[in-house]
């Protein structure tokens, strides 16, 4: 039972908010709605290499759902996101806390920890990964020292996805930076008060840090889920989707349909399915975290 439909600060008219977001409204029409509409139409055409311009309705979608490569790519992508996102959030948060400590030389360490994200898809990264995970690589040598049998990282469809997850974990800079930024905002008095009350580090982590960070945990959860479901670059560089398509993500499928196979219709159809899937996932994330965040948009 709201008294006023718009609860703005006193004396602020309803259009102020609209005015503030007006750049976004204009931009959304041009840079979001327009390409989306085009893409939606293209998704219903057979635009691959045919002589006539043909509207084929839902044929691209029907073909896609029948094709093994689509189903496989979808399951690879979901598996990848399920493994990567929680790990990445945990690693980033712990590192951000470590980097938040006030010790000498910290600026150097922060830069060093962000560096993998700056390198991105540099050749150095691809070659490092090879030397770590190839059959006679460093990781297998270390396993050998521990008496374990070497693992076929690149060549075995059970393990290949794992090295891509590791690459993205290693490039955790942006997630870490967002956590770090929020950690800086937690007043140190909170921790001092907790210490006076006899709280240990673990308890103050759970009773102060986590509740204070709930907003950014949510940001990172949403952003990383979107990024993982759209993953293209890491498998493209590191494994090329091999072996046996075990690292072939939806993102790679879309790229191949679009540019390698010039099948623009399919590329757009697959994109819309991915879009729907991400939308569903994010809506669920908003719903289940809604109560924890205690606020709505």
């Amino acid at each position: 039972m709201k008294k006023h439909p718009y609860q703005n600060p006193t004396g602020v008219p309803a259009y102020t908010g609209l005015l503030l977001i007006s750049p976004f409204i204009i931009g959304a029409v041009i840079f979001t709605v327009y390409p989306f509409v085009c893409s939606f139409i293209l998704g219903m055409t057979e635009s691959s290499i045919s002589r006539e311009l043909r509207f084929t309705g839902l044929k691209n979608y029907a073909e896609m759902f029948r094709s093994d490569s689509f189903r496989n790519a979808l399951s690879v992508t979901v598996k990848y996101a399920l493994i990567l996102v929680p790990l990445k959030l945990i690693v980033s948060l712990l590192t951000a806390m470590l980097l938040n400590a006030e010790i000498k030389g910290m600026r150097f360490f922060r830069t060093a920890f962000y560096l993998p994200s700056i390198l991105g898809s540099n050749l150095a990264v691809v070659i490092m990964w090879q030397y770590l995970f190839k059959s006679k690589g460093l990781v297998n040598q270390l396993l050998g020292l521990c008496g374990a049998a070497p693992v076929s990282w690149y060549g075995d469809s059970r393990y290949a996805l794992f090295i891509i997850v590791l690459l993205r974990l290693w490039e955790f800079g942006s997630t870490m930076l967002i956590f770090f930024t929020a950690l800086r905002d937690i007043p140190s008095e909170y921790y001092e008060a907790a210490r006076v009350d006899g709280c240990g580090a673990v308890r103050s982590f759970f009773s102060i840090t986590l509740p204070q960070l709930k907003n950014v945990i949510f940001i990172n959860l949403v952003l990383q889920t979107i990024a993982a479901l759209q993953e293209f670059n890491a498998p493209y560089m590191i494994t090329g989707g091999n072996p046996m398509k075990s690292t072939y993500t939806i993102g790679m499928l879309i790229y191949d349909e679009m540019f390698a196979y010039s099948d623009i219709g399919s590329a757009n159809a697959v994109s819309w399915v991915l879009f729907a899937f991400i939308t569903l996932t994010v809506v669920i994330l908003f719903r289940i975290t809604g109560r924890l965040r205690e606020e709505k948009i």
Partner: protein, 435 residues
């Protein structure tokens, strides 16, 4: 298709803004009927090609000050994406260096590029034989001219062969027999892959083409192989694996990851002796081994004088935009690139050994036809070759080959099943794109 996309774009955008036309009013016809204009010319390549082509453009601009050539060039990465976007948007450069399989993806009906037959007033094609010209012909329209031709042959690390006291194989049986002496030392005589080059499948195709005299895919995009032929090809590949001629796909992936062979420590350190590669691309392998170590090997035959079936293709082609407002001028510049003696000298072998007789003659005079690419070229001149169908080079087709090879290598499918799958999917896809 392109019209369709533009149409959608027009619906969705404000069409009020008309397309900025490049057309410049002709002041005087300075060059024997040619207009004063600016033409865009695009290519991809490495430093050598960039440098030589820019110099050739300077030379042209000296000779024809009224027709300015504006270069647009870059590396290979993303170039296909760029050009296909341009062509879909109708904003492609006037003259383009294109890849052989783009003829199918970008001009399936022969209307994707300007019909060069119409430009014979300024473009002299008499330096090309009919076979060479036919590579660029679609539906009777000359879509592109071949710049150079090369074959996909075998190259070996001579050092390893010397160390093991072995000669290069000249028959298939000799190749298979090499697996034993190499395997004892932990080496492999040959590398075959399922990457973008699909060398595993290509070698198997050569083997079956030689045996049967058929073509895997015909020039007009039909399957020449039966399921049985595909079975023979896959069986041949499996034989190579089993005889330690080449690594299994799993071993290869474990050792090299996603790297190309020339970036593989196994190849550089001399554990892998041979590679199947286009003559135009062999320099990459040459440069990671000590000077002169990589040599061109014989093209394998059946031992009874049959050495046919080896594949050649146009390594690069030039095409003119169908949207160009200056076709005559573009043709004149193309003529210069292909036939002019001074241009040939400047360009050298940066785009392979020129297919145009005029350019080749000028080039031979300067006497710089040496190197591995040239050696490979002369090997191909001695045998009956098969010109690869552009359909065989399509990425989607390669995906089918690679899947089949990977499946039989990992034993996740038996050979007849994999062959049937390959046959069905190739047949279905070819039918789809031919229509």
């Amino acid at each position: 298709m392109k019209k369709y996309i533009s149409l959608i774009a027009a619906c969705c955008t404000m069409t009020l803004f008309s397309c900025g036309s490049n057309k410049q009013s002709s002041v005087t016809p300075p060059d024997g009927g040619l207009d004063k204009c600016t033409l865009r010319f695009s290519w991809w390549g490495g430093d050598d090609r960039h440098e030589a082509t820019l110099a050739a453009i300077d030379r042209w601009n000296e000779l024809h000050p009224d027709i300015t050539i504006k270069p647009e060039y870059g590396g290979w990465d993303g170039w296909t994406e760029k050009v296909s976007t341009q062509i879909n948007g109708g904003t492609e450069p006037d003259i383009m260096q294109i890849n052989y399989d783009w003829l199918i993806t970008l001009s399936p009906d022969g209307k994707g590029f300007y019909d060069l037959n119409e430009l014979d007033k300024f473009l002299d094609l008499s330096g090309f034989d009919n076979d060479t010209l036919s590579f660029g012909m679609i539906d009777g329209k000359l879509n592109a001219v071949t710049v150079s031709i090369c074959g996909r042959g075998l190259f070996y690390n001579s050092e390893i062969f010397r160390r093991l006291g072995q000669d290069y194989p000249s028959t298939w049986d000799e190749l298979i027999a090499l697996g034993k002496p190499f395997g004892e030392k932990g080496y492999y005589p040959l590398d075959l892959d399922i990457q973008s080059g699909s060398t595993a499948w290509y070698l198997a195709v050569v083997y079956v083409q030689q045996q049967t005299g058929k073509e895997f895919i015909t020039m007009d995009g039909k399957l020449g192989f039966t399921v049985d032929d595909i079975i023979s090809a896959l069986e041949f590949y499996k034989t190579l694996e089993e005889n330690h001629v080449t690594r299994t796909i799993r071993t290869r992936t474990d050792e090299d990851g996603n790297a190309a062979l020339y970036q593989s420590a196994e190849f550089i350190n001399g554990n892998i002796a041979g590679v199947l590669e286009w003559g135009s691309a062999v320099g990459k392998y040459e440069s990671v081994l000590p000077d002169g170590v990589l040599e061109a090997g014989p093209l394998l035959g059946d031992g009874n004088g049959n050495t046919s079936g080896w594949l050649i293709k146009p390594s690069l082609m030039y095409a003119v935009s169908r949207n160009t407002s200056h076709p005559d001028e573009a043709a004149a510049f193309l003529d210069f690139l292909l036939n002019d003696a001074s241009c040939a000298e400047i360009l050298g072998t940066t785009r392979g050994i020129p297919a145009s007789r005029f350019a080749e003659e000028a080039f031979e005079k300067s006497g710089s036809l040496t190197g591995l690419a040239q050696e490979s070229d002369s090997l191909f001149e001695q045998i009956d070759t098969v010109t690869i169908s552009p359909y065989m080079e399509l990425s989607r087709m390669k995906e089918f080959y690679n899947t089949a090879i990977e499946k039989i290598s990992y034993d996740s499918a038996d050979i007849p099943t994999a062959a049937q799958e390959l046959y069905d999917s190739a047949e279905k896809y070819l039918e789809k794109i031919r229509k």
